[in-house]
Amino acid sequence: MSAEPVAPAPAGRETVLALDQLSLSFGGLRALSELDLQVADREIVSVIGPNGAGKTTVFNVITGVYLPSSGDVRFGAESIAGRPSHVIARLGIARTFQTLRLFQNMSVIENVMAATYGRTKATPAESILRLPRARREEREVRALAEEVLSFFGQRLAGYRWDQPAYSLSYANRRRLEIARALATQPRLLLLDEPAAGMNPAETHEITEVIGRLRDERGVAILVIEHDMHVVAGVSDRVIALDHGVKIAEGSFDAVAGHPAVVEAYMGRHPEELAEEN
């Protein structure tokens, strides 16, 4: 399997995230090998690949859940490999989860407000005494939470703010995960299958949301997605993984038609196999 020549980040734009020869092994199992990946400022990059290709693992390495075996992760100019999750999040990388991981028994607005912990400074004593800094921060956090929730229009509007997160519909939980990630005020947003389990109308909506996230909030986005309509609709660039190896990179059309990608998804054509033998 030979990778396509690496497409450089669009000219003139700063690279936000760079994975440099990144490898990760679990015991003897190679989950990622020598992976190179760049995301430029305000760029939307999709990661595709069959189940078990290592897509979510890439996210987990970037966000500090796993420590890479070798190679480096750079965010801006800084190396973030091996730093704890909450530090990476505070630096400006936010994520959503493929299996929803909301704070189920907290209200919708508290879910969002909790994500501002790293950007606020009031000590417990200040909070108890409601000193000026605590009150100002609380006001700002509340305003920020209402703002990111209003990003989804009426979907997560007013009356829902005080409902527990578990009472939301599935699609609204996915939206709430995105809102919660936005509350950390990220520069880079990692979306892990944002359209999973959504109906066609909702999938269409999420495609628009991803575009708006970039246009209105100016974040770079790395998105894992299986729905090819979404991938085709949002991506500036597509990267295909299989068995932890990058097998193709480029525009959606180039990657979707790439023989290695077709093979990874569909297997090899029987006649072709017969010819080789």
């Binding site: 966000t63 500090g64 859940v65 704890p84 999750s85 909450h86 999040a89 505070r90 936010a94 994520r95 989860f97 299996t99 929803l100 991981r101 909301l102 704070f103 189920q104 028994n105 907290m106 508290e110 407000m113 909790a114 994500a115 501002t116 912990y117 790293g118 950007r119 606020t120 009031a122 417990p124 909070s127 108890i128 409601r130 605590a134 921060e137 609380e138 956090v141 229009g153 009426q154 009356y159 829902r160 409902q163 527990p164 578990y166 009472s167 519909s169 919660r180 990630a181 509350a183 950390t184 109906n199 066609p200 109308a201 909702e202 909506e205």
Partner: protein, 493 residues
């Protein structure tokens, strides 16, 4: 109006927010307007109870707390005797402990089984700092100094215990902290007997004394505890609605997601440990001053179980719940069973209430009650005819024991057998069909009365454990979130 104006099989437009018909009032109708209007669908209790419920919900948290505190402060003036006042003090100490445990268990979700050690640490620390125990003359610090010193020391101890256990979760944390709690009891029992007194504990502890005021009466400690409890609850409420409280609950719900949302999970857990330890130590210092003595057994597992029972009964995660749960548990545990007649009213009253509430139709209820009463008189008469000693209830026994329940002269052995058979019958009762259950209920109730009169009423120490257990079982079935708890769902993972 139709939710799908284009018909259910029409074009797949998302059912977004729909406009209300012109002229209508109320909230805007949305796709899931049913959820939006849940307030209107809430069911309230009938009549004035429902009104009270509405008023209660409308007023803020601090007027509620103030009213509860005032009510608590006015109780002694209703003429509570020395014994009732002592029960009240014990209940308030446990309430303080439960409110502190709620930080660790209810909010941060850390199963801390060594919690009582911090209570003991506060008590022993106060005992050393404000008594004649150390040196020839003792230290005798005033409470205004020794209280804050012990609270801060407990916070540091909390951090020290939390540091090695911060990466432990669930069962592992529970076992490690349980070891810590037991280690504290062993420590006080065996280390430096000259200072800590070994099993004999420390006696002659100073009462709380500051600014020329000295608290020596139980009433004084009662008021002090009411004030301290109310302030602690207010402080914790303010903390709960701050970034710290949100971080604790986020860590409880999903530590991985919390870390991905900028929350330093380990630091937040340590903070919870330290805050819980501070509240426990505060309770310990007041406890030591009120008792004027401390013993290692005061800080052993039974107290831990009581505090946990209080927290679970009241509703883990709720401040008001923790306090209320403690009051309920301690009044049942300490107050009611001291007196056999009171306890009897409670026992028979509960059985009668349960039957009234659960047995339908009323013909079945009447039949069961009549049959039980008849069975009792018949059995008593037959037993009396056979042997006089079979119904020779001890002196001072109630009317029931003399006329209805068979209480033999030597009740211990038959009582024990009766207990075993009663447990078997209760198990059978939940297994059999409705018809047989109705029939079996009659002898079961009678047997329960028999066991009560022969064994339980004379051994309150066992009975109260059973009673608390039974209440917790009933609570779990009827209201698993506890008295004031919020319904919780477990994370899907």
């Amino acid at each position: 109006m139709s939710v799908y104006p284009q018909g259910p099989l029409g074009p797949q437009e998302p059912p977004d927010i729909l406009e209300n018909p012109p002229g209508s009032r109320g909230p805007r109708l949305g796709a899931d307007e049913w959820v939006a209007r849940q307030e209107g669908r809430r069911e309230y209790l009938p009549s004035w109870l429902g009104e009270a419920q509405r008023v209660f919900e409308r007023i803020g948290w601090w007027p509620r707390l103030a009213v509860a505190g005032l009510a608590g402060a006015l109780l002694p003036s209703l003429g509570l005797g020395g014994f009732q006042l002592q029960v009240g003090i014990d209940a308030l100490v446990i309430a303080l402990l439960a409110v502190g445990l709620n930080i660790v268990v209810g909010w941060a979700g850390l199963l801390d089984l060594g919690y009582v050690a911090f209570f003991g640490f506060g008590a022993y620390g106060y005992a050393l700092l404000s008594s004649g125990q150390i040196g020839s003359a003792g230290i005798h610090l005033p409470a205004i100094v020794s209280l804050p010193v012990m609270v801060i020391a407990a916070a540091i101890l909390g951090l020290a215990v939390g540091l090695p256990s911060r990466r432990l979760i669930g069962d592992y944390l529970a076992i490690v902290t349980l070891f810590f709690g037991e280690a504290f009891v062993e420590f006080t029992n065996n280390v430096a007997p000259a200072k800590l007194g070994g099993p004999n504990g420390i006696t002659g502890i100073d009462p709380i004394r500051s600014f020329g005021i000295q608290l020596t009466t139980n009433a004084g400690y009662y008021y002090l505890l009411v004030i301290v409890l109310v302030i602690t609850m207010a402080v914790l409420r303010l903390l709960d609605t701050s970034r710290t409280g949100r971080a604790w609950r986020a860590v409880r719900e999903d530590p991985l997601a919390a870390a991905a949302m900028t929350i330093p999970v380990n630091r937040v857990k340590l903070l919870a440990f330290a805050c819980g330890a501070m509240v426990a130590a505060l309770a310990g210092t007041i406890f030591a001053a009120q008792q004027t003595s401390v013993f290692p057994t005061d800080f052993d597992t039974p107290i831990l179980i009581l505090v946990y029972a209080a927290l679970i009964l009241g509703g883990s995660g709720s401040i008001a719940g923790a306090a209320t749960g403690a009051l309920v548990v301690m009044v049942i545990y300490d107050g009611l069973l001291r007196n056999a007649t009171d306890a009897g009213f409670l026992f028979y009253g509960l059985i009668l209430l349960t039957l009234l509430a659960r047995l339908r139709p009323w013909r079945r209820l009447a039949a069961v009650l009549a049959a039980t009463v008849a069975l009792g008189f018949a059995a008593h008469a037959i037993a009396a005819a056979i042997s006089n000693s079979a119904v020779a209830a001890g002196p001072g026994s109630g009317w029931l024991a003399r006329h209805w329940v068979i209480v033999p002269a030597n009740p211990q052995t038959p009582g024990n057998w009766g207990f075993v058979i009663l447990v078997c019958m209760l198990i059978a009762l939940v297994q059999v069909s409705t018809r047989w259950r109705t029939i079996l209920m009659v002898p079961t109730i009678y047997l329960a009365a028999f066991v009560w009169e022969t064994r339980l009423v004379v051994e309150p120490s066992i009975t109260r454990q059973l009673l608390i257990g039974a209440i917790l079982i009933v609570m779990m079935i009827a209201r698993p979130q506890g008295l004031f708890g919020q319904r919780r769902v477990e994370a899907a993972l």
